[in-house]
């Protein structure tokens, strides 16, 4: 992970450009929020806040795949993957390191944007809006689901990266493949699933288990022979050993 962080530091545009788009998409909904008067109706407030909440949960889904999708196929195209594969590192360890390297900046950006939204609502929006935004289950859901959704999105991206033959294809597929999660986040954001503390914790645990399973599945997809030669191995693979 330290290597990945150093590479991000040497090319800050990688992280910088990750943060720009979410901020841009937030502008219109935030203006809508600021315009809501104290006398606004409950459904109107919830609808506006729901859009913001949805965007907050979309950020950890759509930001990580671009980095995650580059993680394996990009290194192969650079020529840096083969030397790494000749070391004792197991596939599961290597992929975990790459996942963490994509996870940290993605979640940091998502939380930073959320903090900006909270501060903006606290000082710029009507009290009735703040009541909905600062509703504890809503806050808890945002805090819990952001990293877990990001992690799921990262595993999808890395999984595609281990099988794709081109970086561009991997990045586009990874973004598309993480979109189904939007259905889940929409249900939460517009309170079609009423957020409560037990529900938030339960769903978070389920996501955590799904993330761990995704890690094992993606590790199983890792095929050294395919990555080195571009051809499938002839026989089943085992993690940490020969691809075949």
């Amino acid at each position: 992970m330290r290597k990945e962080v150093r590479e991000f530091r040497r090319n800050r545009f990688v992280i910088g450009t990750m943060a720009v788009l979410p901020f841009i998409f937030l502008i219109t909904p935030m203006i809508t929020i600021f315009k809501i008067p104290d006398s606004a109706s409950g459904p109107q407030v919830k609808s506006a806040v729901g859009v913001i909440s949805l965007l907050m949960l979309i950020i950890p889904i759509v930001i990580p795949p671009v980095i995650a999708a580059y993680s394996v196929v990009g290194e192969r195209d650079q020529g840096t993957l083969e030397p790494v594969l000749t070391t004792p590192v197991r596939a599961s360890e290597l992929l975990l390191g790459k996942a963490v390297a994509a996870f940290v900046p993605s979640v940091a950006i998502a939380y930073a944007i959320y903090l900006v939204v909270l501060i903006s609502v606290r000082f710029g929006a009507a009290h009735v809006v703040g009541t909905v935004v600062f509703h504890p289950p809503q806050l808890l859901a945002q805090l819990l689901f952001t990293p877990l959704l990001a992690l799921w999105s990262i595993w999808v991206g890395i999984g595609i990266s281990t099988r794709a033959s081109d970086v561009r294809v991997a990045q586009q597929l990874a973004t598309v493949a993480s979109l189904p999660l939007l259905g889940f986040t929409s249900l939460l954001s517009f309170q079609l699933i009423k957020p409560s503390v037990p529900l938030a914790i339960g769903l978070a645990l389920a996501l955590l288990v799904a993330d761990v399973i995704a890690w094992r599945l993606v590790s199983g997809l890792f095929d050294r022979e395919r990555l080195v030669t571009g051809k499938e191995a002839g026989t089943p693979r085992q993690d940490g050993g020969l691809a075949g």
Binding site: T80, P83, T86, P88, T235, G241, L242
Partner: protein, 422 residues
């Protein structure tokens, strides 16, 4: 040595940037203090003066702990130039570094056991046979050359032995460990591979690249080993340079240092002198000699036949299947008969009589005054032929043994393959 600085002056633009974790902590504290002031002193007239105080304190800390020179200039001034860096690391220092690197290696199971045993190794990619029934063994501490034309299967063989790809059939024992899916990690702990493409992270420095691999090998004292590895390849002075700023030859040397980090029992070198100038190539050759002296088994693939001839204890010539294997001098003797070439000023009157001496098996005319003699032993035949020529009154211009090189062996075998194919 680079001076400790929390902040460094930006080369372009105004201000400073954090240089290490101290700088980042100070920056984060300043940001946190600013936010706290904005929140807690909301509506108070003291907010602006307090914020000015925070910014002023930050600037004072940056000035006090940073420099006035841009970061790149400070680094360049503090560190030795190429000539300064390398002048202090001569052959003796290289040898010392190599000795330190190879001390305490994980060895093969027994000192008499070969480092590498390959039996009937075959690899097919669909219908194409890349490696066909190859068998050989490499003794521990040997420099083994693996030669062949492009597409012969050399890199495929190395990849199989490095556990990157699986063989279609056949077995191998690498550094005493059976080549098996379950043993991949164990094998890779005992070997190191220098691929033809250095595969360096160009945005990271030389030291950072080596640190990353030191971490992958879980080395106990990574900084010490990195220093030794860089000294062994005469790159100690370039540790803090980004790999993207290095020439191809220097990147090759960094890749070699990376391969030496883990002190492997077997070192696979794929074209290690590719792109290197003659001086750098000679340094690599001396390094390989040094590795052999310290008991490291080197598996060398190369196109440079003179390099293989100079360095290798044994060579194998591959063209999908193994064409020949043996010591370079054995291969020459096996493939070529010993030959003497005689040149006289005028044609001999009776060559049959002159060349009917001990050690000469036969002769043929090369041109009117040249004669090619097939001999069993040049040490016996040459003096006898000389005496016979003198006794016959011949005007001898030259008498020399034809020295066949490994290149001659290689070309002879490849020509046979071409003829067989046609």
């Amino acid at each position: 040595m680079r001076s400790q600085q929390w902040f460094q002056r930006r080369r372009v633009g105004f201000g400073w940037r954090p240089a290490d974790w101290h700088g980042w902590v100070v920056t984060l504290l300043a940001v946190a203090a600013t936010i706290a002031v904005l929140v807690l002193l909301r509506g108070s007239s003291a907010r602006i003066p307090v914020m000015i105080l925070i910014v002023a304190a930050y600037v004072v800390v940056a000035l006090a702990t940073g420099g006035t020179r841009p970061a790149e200039e400070a680094r360049a001034a503090d560190e030795p130039t190429d000539s300064e860096a390398d002048s202090g690391v001569g052959v003796v220092q290289q040898r010392l570094a190599l000795r330190a690197l190879t001390y305490g290696r994980v060895s093969t199971s027994s000192p008499d056991e070969p480092a590498l045993v390959v039996e009937h190794l075959t690899k097919r990619f669909g219908e194409r046979v890349a490696v066909d029934d190859v068998s050989f063994s490499v003794a521990a501490g040997e420099v083994f050359g693996f030669l062949g034309p492009n597409g012969a299967g050399k890199t495929t063989t190395v990849r199989i032995l490095a556990t990157l790809i699986a063989p279609t059939s056949g077995t191998a024992r690498v550094a005493g460990v059976l080549l098996d899916p379950a043993n991949g990690v164990d094998i890779r702990r005992r070997i190191a591979v220098m691929t033809e493409n250095p595969g360096l992270y160009l945005r990271l420095t030389v030291a950072e690249n080596l640190e990353f691999f030191a971490g992958l090998y879980e080395l106990a004292q990574p900084q010490a080993r990195i220093g030794q590895a860089l000294a062994a390849v005469s790159l100690a002075g370039r540790a803090n340079d980004p790999c993207g700023s290095l020439s191809k030859g220097l990147r090759q040397r960094v890749a070699l240092a990376r391969a030496l980090l883990s002190d492997p029992a077997i070192l696979f070198l794929d074209e290690p002198t590719s792109g290197l100038d003659p001086v750098a190539s000679r340094e690599v050759h001396e390094l390989i000699d040094g590795l052999r002296d310290h008991g490291v088994t080197v598996f060398l693939t190369t196109h440079r036949l003179e390099e293989a001839e100079r360095l290798c204890d044994n060579v194998a010539i591959l063209n999908t299947s193994l064409r020949t294997i043996g010591r370079p001098d054995e291969l020459r003797d096996r493939l070529f008969t010993k030959t003497l070439v005689v040149r006289t000023l005028t044609p001999l009157a009776s060559p049959d009589a002159v060349f009917a001496v001990a050690g000469v098996d036969g002769w043929r005319a090369d041109d009117t005054t040249g004669y090619v003699l097939t001999v069993s032993d040049a040490r016996i035949a040459a003096p006898a032929v000389t005496r016979a020529l003198v006794a016959a009154g011949a005007d001898l211009l030259s008498l020399a043994e034809v020295q066949h090189s490994l290149e001659d062996v290689y070309l002879e075998l490849m020509d046979d393959d071409v003829e067989a194919g046609s």
